[in-house]
């Protein structure tokens, strides 16, 4: 066990993997000399050199595609995309190539690629740096998608991703980077398992990534009001650990899904539908969702905060179920 920040945990996982496996390398915009837009790869250029810590031009589509090609060619690339909004420039490569190649080639080729990207709002970066499009990626068969919400998961899920034979997209909520916590040592985490972050009997709060902290604060507020909330951190969006969700709902009989993404067509809708399909009889109230407001993310602080789920809005949604 070591105490470190989320940012350091991601870095330590990359360093550990690169020391253990010469096939692992990192590329992306400003990951080298600059040390990473969020300082995640700070110091790695000095340790591993420019062949393995590769600064790329501002060519998202091509450096992601090059990551796919390098994975096909026997490497284990980690590709960093500065923010999820920028990943849209590389969607062709992710959706049309990374996700399809194994199937389209009849199983001859796999793409063991790890794509890391910062996601989420809360930093007053307005409408082209703040969105939560995790659900778009989770929609796509052929890729796996996970959102580490804790320091331990930042390390553990990255190391687990590097063991996967298929492309994995990791979403790092940008407000989590300075978060401090314990980074566990030991066996790599298994992909696709949700985590119970708080036990409770009255309602299941289901969330992931940057919304976990607010959801736990909401649970504390609810406890003061006599409502004991269980908090499930999905960790992996694809595959989705429905077993853990159903077990929790069977126990609490109520579910509220919390995410920063827009409600319409969002991942919360998918979780909600899974609960209807798999745990309908356990429900004592309709499934509720607390999501981002249906606006491009505004700059002004009061507007941005109003656009994001907050502990108070989560509490209100829960109270509406009783």
């Amino acid at each position: 066990m070591a105490r470190m920040t989320y940012r350091e945990a991601v870095r330590e996982a990359m360093r550990e993997a690169m020391r253990a496996d010469p096939r692992v390398f990192l590329m992306g915009e400003d990951v080298g000399k600059y040390g990473g837009a969020f300082a995640v790869s700070h110091g790695m250029l000095a340790e591993f050199g420019p062949e393995r810590i590769r600064d790329t031009p501002l060519s998202e589509s091509t450096f992601v595609g090059a990551g796919i090609g390098a994975a096909l060619g026997g490497m284990r690339p980690i590709v960093e995309i500065m923010t999820i909004n920028f990943s849209l420039l590389a969607l062709d490569q992710i959706v049309n190539n990374a996700a399809t190649l194994r199937h389209m080639s009849g199983g001859q080729f796999g793409v063991p690629l790890v794509l890391r990207m910062a996601t989420g709002g809360g930093r007053q970066l307005a409408a082209q740096h703040s969105h939560s499009l995790e659900g778009w990626f989770a929609h796509i068969p052929g890729i796996k998608a996970a959102a580490p919400a804790t320091v331990a998961d930042a390390r553990g899920l990255l190391l687990a991703a590097l063991k996967e034979p298929d492309p994995v997209v990791l979403f790092e909520h940008a407000t989590l980077y300075p978060l401090e916590g314990e980074s566990e040592d030991g066996t790599p985490m298994q992909f696709g398992r949700a985590a119970l972050r708080r036990a409770g009997r009255d309602v299941s709060l289901i969330t992931y990534g940057g919304a976990l902290g607010k959801t736990l604060r909401a649970a504390a507020l609810l406890a003061e009001k006599g409502i004991e909330a269980e908090v499930i951190d999905l960790r992996s969006l694809r595959p989705l650990d429905t077993e853990t969700i159903f077990t929790s709902v069977a126990h609490t009989h109520r579910a509220v899904i919390v995410e920063e993404a827009w409600k319409t067509g969002g991942f919360a809708a998918e979780v909600s539908a899974c609960i209807m399909e798999g745990a309908f009889d356990a429900l004592d109230a309709p499934v509720a969702r607390v999501c981002g407001a249906e606006v491009p993310m505004p700059y002004a602080p009061q507007l941005e905060q109003a656009a994001l789920p907050q502990p108070e809005s989560i509490v209100k949604a829960v109270q509406g179920l009783f």
């Binding site: 595609g65 090059a66 796919i68 090609g69 060619g73 490497m75 194994r102 389209m104 080639s105 080729f109």
Partner: protein
Amino acid sequence: MSIHKTAVAPGAERGHLLALLRQMLLIRRFEEKSAELYSAGKIRGFLHLYIGEEAVAVGAMQALTEEDAVVATYREHGQALARGLPAGKIMAEMYGKANGCSRGRGGSMHLFDAGRRFYGGYAIVAGGLPIAVGLALADKLQERQAVTACFFGDGAVAEGEFHESLNLAALWRLPVLFLCENNLYGMGTSLERSESQTDIHLKAQNYNIAAEVVDGMDVLAVESATQRAVAQVRRGDGPYFLELRTYRYRAHSMSDPELYRSKEEVAQWRGRDPLSLFDACLRGKGMLDDAGLKALEADVANEVDWAVAEAEKGEWEPVADLERDVYASVAA
């Protein structure tokens, strides 16, 4: 504009030259049979024929070794055949059968063969270029001497990925051979209607990539230009770019009414048919006569018949296996 013309290499072996002719003939007859089978409903989906462009794939492939990698487009039957994929596995793939080279998951546009480092047909125009850059990066990082040959059409030149990929390959001095098959049309839009600069090799030169124009109807010109280019790439001098000027005789795909070009233009290009040109070249050298050609045709016809038989007798993948090969393990 300078077009490299290469006379028959002195001392070139008759056997080699006849093998080139045979490969071009095989592609031509395979494609003609494919068109027939498409009309008969045996092949479905999209079908993009390579007829007219045979000299490009056949000439270029001669310069590659087994260690080299190939990335192609949705018009890739010619490259696949020239790379040595069995015609039967390609035809079976177009039938959608489980014995196809992609187990019936790809069809005409997505042919793959791991053993031959044939990394597939990409149907998003220019989508294969970044993949080729990455394959070359992997080879370089693992200190292999391999070259990645990346085929694409003139239509790709308008895409951002073309420019990004040329830049990155040149910047990192990666062993990529860019092979632009300039057949003058991106589907139905002619080059001059889509590009402000129609001399494509000049674009590559602007990225500090050695680039030249080659007569893509002359198989020996393609072969010798590619040999030169591959030698330079293999030396570690970074990427090389060949603009191969060619023409597709058939429609873009089987559903194209060809409203955008004249019959005269097609006829004019057919006058420089790569097979006829090479046939005449070989006869001029006393290496081919009517009987020789007839024997080659018969041999090729047998191979095409065998390919169709393989496809016909292939099994359909059971529907129970629908979700196979989405992930390495089924559960996900």
